[in-house]
């Protein structure tokens, strides 16, 4: 029954791990996006830390060096960067605590009889609420950051 064949298109052989895009393969769910955000924020904080160590190191070279460094860093772009760091650190820290709680405490759920519709305990409402707390605290920290850095 050749009429049943509608189209033939070239395709790529399946690739095992695609960077970043792995987080968006279906089924897309919050926990996996949180993992991606944790990694991204972690890398961003690491980059910031690297520069931070050298910037604060200028305090050893005397008052002049310090104050000129501070002047260079007082422009709005730098403030935006600092605000991003605040948001990243808050999310990374609160999500990290969520990971610790899920790995070490009974908060992850308790084994039970699996009955239809087979809902996973570790993806239940209680565990999701930890993620919502993380997102809430991140946005609160973001707001606080805006207030402090720009004195609104």
């Amino acid at each position: 029954m050749d009429s049943a064949v509608v189209a033939i298109e070239k395709s790529n052989p399946p690739r095992r791990g695609t960077p970043v895009l792995w987080a968006f393969r279906p089924p897309v769910h919050l926990e996996r996006l949180a993992l991606l955000a944790q990694r991204v924020s972690g890398l961003a904080i690491l980059v910031y830390l690297f520069f931070h160590i050298f910037v604060t190191g200028t305090v050893t070279e005397g008052r002049g060096a310090w104050e000129s460094t501070m002047d260079t860093l007082s422009n709005p772009l730098m403030h935006l960067g600092e605000w991003l760091v605040v948001v990243a650190v808050t999310f990374h820290a609160v999500n990290g605590i969520r990971v610790l709680l899920l790995e070490l405490t009974p908060l992850v759920g308790r084994p039970a009889r699996p009955d239809y519709p087979y809902e996973a305990q570790s993806l239940g409402r209680g565990q999701h609420s930890l993620l919502y707390v993380a997102m809430l605290m991140t946005s609160l920290a973001g707001l606080a950051g805006i207030v402090i850095l720009w004195g609104l």
Binding site: E9, R32, L35, P114, Y118, L123
Partner: protein, 265 residues
């Protein structure tokens, strides 16, 4: 195995129904790849499959195999969600072909591909060698002193209901491989034991009849063991039997850190 085509609903007369006719066919895009014969050439072939009531993706694939191309390679057996053979990517998501109703997918075009993170043997069939070797590595059997001897057991090994419930859900695993296909750590780390093996390691560790905690701990407390899990949660999201391997892995981590075998208090 030919499918029966149901009679269309009557449009007039005493048995007429006011519901409009459903589409009579769907488009099935299947990943076709034969590494032996075609070399590296992979292609997506679209077939028009007649739609019947209750059609599953597995039924649709078998229709193609029967009526169009007998060379389509896929694995299936029980077609009722218990053998774990028909794991495949359906619209990008790892699912069992026999348990996925075409009507539930709510689209006229369905994409079927081989499971991610597994080497492709041909078309939709994948190589489970690594998967089974990880499973074997965690010793999926009760470790007791009398293993290997031919002595019959002296008495029954009894368990309370609570002790059984501590590991029961992890025994439901049908080894379909969907969890390993969904896990991002398995995608990047070939030596990672995987959610299936780790959940089974927990299943035996939590079983009060087991005496092999120290060996099990050595196997999972390694660079590619349970601590490589990063809580993506995809394994639990795709498991068709409610095993929740993610839960098993976290409980295993806790047991390893405590140093004691997990036992119900």
């Amino acid at each position: 195995m030919s499918l029966q085509v149901l009679e269309p609903r009557a449009r007039s007369g005493p048995n007429a129904s006011a519901v409009p006719e459903e589409p009579k066919s769907i488009l099935l895009r299947i990943f076709r790849f034969n590494p032996g014969e075609d070399g590296e050439e992979a292609r997506m072939v679209t077939y028009r499959v007649p739609l019947t009531k209750g059609l599953t993706v597995l039924d649709a694939l078998l229709w193609v195999k029967e009526h169009v191309d007998p060379g389509l390679a896929l694995r299936y057996s029980c077609r009722m969600g218990i053998c774990g053979s028909c794991g495949m990517l359906i619209n990008g998501e790892p699912r069992l072909g026999c348990e996925t109703q075409v009507a539930d997918l709510k689209s006229d075009t369905i994409e079927v591909g081989p499971l991610t993170n597994f080497p492709v043997v041909r078309d939709v069939a994948t190589d489970f060698t690594d998967f089974f070797s990880h499973h074997r590595r965690i010793r999926p059997y009760l470790i007791r002193p009398e293993n290997g001897t031919l002595e019959p057991p002296a008495q029954e090994l009894s368990q309370t209901e609570a002790e059984k419930l501590a590991y029961y859900q992890f025994t439901m695993c049908i080894m379909c491989g969907l969890c390993d296909a969904a896990c991002p750590v398995v995608a990047f780390d070939r030596e990672f034991l995987g959610p299936q093996a780790l959940a089974q390691a927990y299943r035996f560790a939590a079983d009060t009849r087991d005496r092999g905690w120290s060996e099990r701990r050595e196997t999972v407390d390694t660079a590619h063991g349970c601590f490589r899990c990063e809580l993506a949660g995809s394994c639990s999201a795709v498991c068709p039997k409610g095993v929740d391997p993610g839960l098993g892995v976290q409980l295993l981590k806790r047991a390893v850190l405590r140093g004691r075998a997990p036992r119900p208090s």
